[in-house]
């Protein structure tokens, strides 16, 4: 059941369009990740949902009720949402307990209830022993969990997260990814999560929405997006891929100059330009020629332990990256042969 719906949502500042008519449906209890590079419009989308901004066009509908449309946006405090900020935004003048209790106090809840609920949520994020501390006395990971607790305790209709892990170090970040997912599984709030980190998105999301230049490039489950990227941008941004462009011979064949590649599925308009994406590890590299293999030269190789990272050049100079097994023996002259399996070559929008 759709809980949150964005319809033709746009935002411009003067003549700059930051968000260009995006449509999105998020189901009840789903965790959706808005993924993209900085400036892609993901944070703008989140702030529009939160009500910190008013859309230039389009609507935001939650549970059938329109919250935002041009000239008429419900203020953030009346949306029943919570948000976790990049800076955590813990109030330094309040204790951890008071920070978490703030939202409940605003709801005029009796004191005893507040204490119970805050106690329970602090237990859930394993911070009960720090309730009387001040935020500055906590580590980054602890602050992060306080922010989570503060957002969850009010039982929000929708939970919003704005790059919540970007200020943590690598190890902590990985731990917190699972923590976020664990809490989501426990509480099941409809959640919108903004990040530029694909690993974060893959770990946490039910639905990944890849955004670029104010538009949605592709939306889908993590596996679907990885396996079937619709555009060159999605393919490279999520997981990394070679993008080979050329002229389409027919619906399945693309002439990239050095060779004509075949895709297992049809996706080209004959006579028009097209592009193929193939992930690095899907490029098969061999020292000796095989049927349908293309000659290539190794330009650079990096030994990474479990794999070997290669940069190759095809006959016409087209560059290609490949991840090969570490035991691959590369001849001294660097001449190798690569195979691009048709099932792995996917037509994408350039």
């Amino acid at each position: 059941m759709t809980h949150l719906r964005l319809e033709g949502l746009s935002k411009s500042f003067g003549s700059t369009t930051v968000l260009d008519a995006i449509d999105l449906s998020v189901g009840q209890g789903q965790l959706v990740c808005l993924l993209g590079p900085s400036g892609c419009g993901k944070t703008t989308t989140l702030r529009l949902i939160a009500g910190f901004m008013e859309p230039s066009a389009g609507r935001i509908v939650v549970g059938g009720r329109t919250l935002s449309e041009p000239g008429n946006a419900l203020p953030p405090e009346r949306r029943g949402m919570s948000m976790i900020f990049q800076s955590y935004a813990l109030w330094p003048h309040m204790t951890i307990f008071d920070n978490v209790a703030y939202g409940l106090a605003l709801r005029k809840m009796p004191r005893a209830d507040i204490a119970t609920r805050v106690g329970r949520i602090l237990e859930a994020v394993k911070l009960s022993h720090l309730a009387e501390r001040y935020p500055a006395e906590l580590s980054g990971g602890q602050q992060q969990r306080v922010a989570l607790a503060r957002a969850l305790v009010v039982e929000p209709e929708i939970l919003l997260l704005d790059e919540p892990l970007s200020n943590l170090d690598a190890a902590l970040r990985e731990e917190m990814r699972f923590e976020v997912r664990r809490l989501h599984d426990a509480f099941r709030y409809t959640t919108v999560y903004v990040t530029h980190d694909q690993a974060e998105a893959m770990t946490t999301a039910d639905l990944i929405v890849v955004m670029n230049q104010g538009r949605i490039e592709q939306a889908g489950g993590p596996e679907e997006i990885y396996a079937r990227p619709r555009s060159a941008f999605v393919a490279t941004f999520l997981g990394g891929a070679n993008i080979l462009s050329g002229m389409a011979r027919d619906a399945q064949h693309l002439d990239i100059g050095a060779a004509t590649l075949r895709c297992a599925e049809a996706g080209f308009a004959p006579g028009a330009r097209g592009a193929i994406s193939i992930r690095f590890h899907e490029v098969a590299v061999a020292a000796s020629s095989a049927d349908g293999a293309l000659p290539a030269r190794v330009q650079r190789q990096t030994f990474l332990g479990s794999t070997r990272d290669l940069v190759l050049a095809l006959a016409d100079g087209t560059q290609l990256r490949a991840t090969a097994p570490p035991d691959l023996a590369i001849p001294g002259d660097g001449n190798v042969f690569v195979t691009l399996p048709p099932t792995r070559c996917r037509p994408v929008v350039a």
Binding site: P75, P76, G103, L106, V154
Partner: protein, 571 residues
Amino acid sequence: MSTTGQGGVQRAGAGMDLSGPVLAASALFLAGLICLPIGWIAAFAFTDRAGAPTLGNFRLLLDDPTLFEPLMTTLGLSCSVAVFAALSATPLAWLVARTDMPGRRVARVLMTASFVTPPFLGAIAWEILAAPNSGVLNRLWRDLSGAEDALFDIYSFPGLVFVISCYTAPYVFVVLTNALDRIPADLEDAAGILGAPRWRIVVGITLPLALPALLAGTAVAFLQAMTLFGSPAILAIPAGFHTVTTKIYSLFQFPPKPQIAAAAALPLLLVTIALLWLQSRILGRRGYAVVGGKGAAPRLVRLGAWRWPVFVLVFAVLALPLFLPYMALLKAAISRLPAGPFDPANMTLAHFSFVFLEFSQTRHAFANTFVLALATATAGTLLALVVAYLVARRTDLSGRALEFLAMAPIAIPGVVLGVGLFLAYTRGPVVLYGTLWILFLAFLTIELPAAFQQLRASFRGLHPELEEASRILGAGRLETLWRITAPLLKSGVIAGWCLIFIGTVRELSAAVMLSSSTTKVLSVVIFDLNEGGNLGAIAVIGVAMLLLTFAVVGFANWITGAGGGPRPQPA
């Protein structure tokens, strides 16, 4: 826990959202507050006596040497004061903030005390000290050296520069020490590792980092000197010259020429705008974000053998704005003849009984002054808070317009603003003349820029997400401002409040134009008493005024600082 468990949590923020109207009303009020008097001044500057539009007032300003010379004098005065104040405050600020000089806390407090001293009171005290013939110091000098001539003539241009500097240098000092306090030690250490000697670090790293603060403070000193009325009125006229403010004041004597007075104020406005523009240009070019950033706490420079000589020097400097003048005032308070010898025959309590028992205006004036100062400080801080909030959270044109409005009064001499307010509130629809309200509005207008600047700087250090976190949890804008923003800006809010309070108590120039018999304030009473040469009474009132101001400011800091818990700087 689940959404449905425990009956769920209600939605917050179901009440009416008043923030829009309140914010709009504040902006509108500010616009009215500033535009009404300035509009009247502008209207007068460009009209002749009959009310027809003309540029003649400005032509007269350039042609008539009695009008043009004061302009030049004022420019020279302001530049001299700015340089003198910066040169004297910089070493003092560095010594107090970055060295292990003994008694630096006391020195800090004492500098603040000289900030609280009204400049006109300082000028009167320095008359007692350094009038060429009767001045205590000059007499002492004659007795000791046998010389004929005075050591120092306070009735002179340098004398005026000196006295004004005494009471504007604290501005530079306060801003500079705050900046120096926050320069992290690692920046200095970085230079130390590269082998730079101590003095090179100070000159090459520390001071350049504090440069924005120094410039800001110096600019304030310049503007203060330019718009000050009391000190020139007391010292410049006996010295035989006019500044723009005393000239403008004299233009309101019979027959009044408000048109020329308004025109004479315009160059000051232009100079101010140019100065503020220049400042933003200079500061905008380099990233000074470091001041206020995280980092190791500043480490103090060891003065070694120099500790005590430096201590003596600093306290000798503090004698100039503080010890000497207040000693002079205290002596005047208990002397029959202020400049007379210090012996029992010359002592009297008559001034005290006159001020507190006989003089009917005293009690009124004390009450008026403190009611006004409390009201202005509170209302001004709230207004500055709201305006600074709007400015900080709106980067569009309306934000910039509000900022300009809030800063505009800094450019207008109080004398002129007084006239503008008189014109604005003596004719319909709101007639406030003769009430405390007109003084309230005047002080609010005059003191707003200081509080606004203070709070704007505080807002810049406050991450907007701290407010947004409160909004999304269900607090409206006003509630957020009240529950989150204001407490986080506490130190800035208190500083702003105290700035307005002190500023109101020491304000003279607009008060002199606007107060009437029932609405006299202390500064005007002192000015009147000075006209009659009544030094003893002035001294009694002045000292009482200082003590009361200190008590209120101390109390404000105490009650707001009494809350428990650490208050770390927001990240």
